[in-house]
Subunit: 317 residues, 2 copies
């Protein structure tokens, strides 16, 4: 019988599907990315994953027999225990998809699944900025805002699988009006990419800035660093709001480190200004903010980590 | 050799010391209370505890040989692992007091210690409103505000022993100016007994209310229930602020139940109005608020529970 020597990690995104082949130490040996545009149906996504995995294995002169386990994540609420994606964002539109069972059926190897932010936290925990730390919080800031919580070296998913859904947090400055379904939550409205863009647009005028009315969140932060007053105001508000949320999380959890990731969260100017606000409020605890070490690979590395710790895998390090 | 059949629980407060003798099931068989006014020095408090324990045992025709363990709590920051009270409020003024070791020296039985709010959470978890629940948060609202967090059936103390120090939380409405040392924190300023009293006084005028300028927090809440407009405004603000904090904690931890205790927290009107605000903001999760079942005994029952689970006690249920 062939001894499993490899793992497969899968990052299912709203626009991209990424599959990696790794050795049992978690080192990626080959990877492939493909689009998920027009591929929404769970069965079609599973078929794409199978194709990608097969291609990676064939190129490496391996077969599915060499694969010990597969780890996968999708954006949305996931019951990790039963391996069911309960709900994803409107991009995917999944409801109660038994992702773990479907992967195991399609590939014939043990599978484990979780949501993308939790996977990113797991990736940073094992291979990135949280390596060697027992307690930290990964905060993903992209279009939306979410957190993956590592307590005592393990992912804390919460009794309802939604621990860390911090995009809806209420802190000074956030709207007190409950957001409608599909609208950004309190914290997201001031810190998330979509909220930042619309704030720039609503405050924009030719008198206030020479920059165009259409900017992405990272372009706004770049403009703030370059000295644009309108952009500085928006960056400062985002930093203050994020600092308040991190301060509150520290009071509740005592986590000494926060790893910032996601396309918006990786901007150094946001980290620097948020840390400066935190210093003013910190009391006994002074949470430290660092940027994600894995960047856009955090989820994929977390998926590989998940495959490493799938029950009954003999090589669990 | 005598088989230990009893436990001792100790609640060290800023003004009162309470000691209880319980059987190994945690049922109190006798109790005694004494003042701690003018007794500040740790050694004197330990001596008072020893006297109280001796008296309880003698009355029950027992001796220290019958005591399996002692559990004790003091208000303040406690390193439960090493049994050291790191700091208490100005009332006690303790710094780095090795309470566990001092109790074991004085009484000759295994001891375990934690802070008062954590003990109350433990008490509610085992004997009170959280019985049978794996995940809930106990919120103590007296002069100040703090939380004891039960996750997966166990006390979550946090890596720095200050998990649940929610009195400093920042939510919409709280001051964004960091409080000076000894001043109430953000949440405390609007929800804690001291903050409520001073808000009543600063807003009070003969035109606004017929009630006196000196009222306690619970008197203000009573006045709100009786229809006093000024009191209603203060209660509503406290309820809204508390609801926001609970909402944020739910997003982070997913805890479905919050047990409200402490002299102010036990007021039903605060619970009812806070629950009503929460209903408007709740999304997937709808945290339920209930009043403490143990009331003023929560800490003492928690101390007894702590004695039950002291390592090496044979009767751990």
């Amino acid at each position: 019988m062939t001894q499993p020597t490899h793992l497969i990690g899968v990052d299912i995104g709203g626009t991209n599907l990424r599959v990696a082949l790794a050795n049992v130490k978690g080192e990626i040996v080959a990877r492939v990315a493909t689009t998920t545009t027009n591929v929404r149906e769970p069965r079609s996504v599973i078929e794409k994953i199978r194709e990608c995995a097969q291609r990676l294995l064939e190129d490496a002169r391996l077969s599915l027999e060499h694969v010990a386990a597969i780890g996968a994540g999708a954006p949305g609420l996931t019951d990790a225990e039963n391996g069911v994606v309960i709900a994803t964002s409107y991009l995917m539109g999944w409801r109660d998809v038994p992702l773990k069972a479907m992967l195991e059926d399609a590939l014939g190897v043990p599978a484990s699944v979780d949501n993308d932010v939790n996977l990113a936290a797991l990736g940073e925990s094992r291979f990135g900025a949280g390596r060697g730390l027992k307690d930290f919080v990964f905060i993903s800031i992209g279009t939306g805002v979410g957190a993956g919580i590592i307590l005592n070296g393990e992912l804390f998913q919460g009794p309802a699988w939604t621990a860390g859904e911090i995009g809806y947090m209420l802190v000074p400055g956030t709207s007190e009006v409950p957001p409608a379904l599909g609208e950004p939550g309190g914290l997201e409205g001031l810190v998330g990419g979509e909220g930042l863009r619309s704030r720039w647009q609503s405050q924009w005028s030719r008198e206030k800035t020479q920059l165009p009315r259409e900017l992405t969140a990272t372009q706004i932060f770049d403009a703030a660093v370059a000295g644009d007053d309108l952009a500085i105001g928006i960056l400062d508000l985002a930093a203050r709001t994020l600092a308040y949320a991190i301060f509150d999380i520290t009071l509740i959890l005592n986590t000494p480190l926060f790893v910032l990731g996601g396309s918006v969260g990786l901007h150094a100017a946001l980290r620097d200004r948020t840390q400066a606000v935190l210093e003013m409020h910190a009391r006994r605890l002074r949470p430290k903010l660092v940027l994600s070490a894995l960047g856009g690979d955090a989820q994929l590395m977390g998926a590989i980590r998940l495959a490493q710790i799938v029950p009954h895998v003999s090589e669990e390090p």
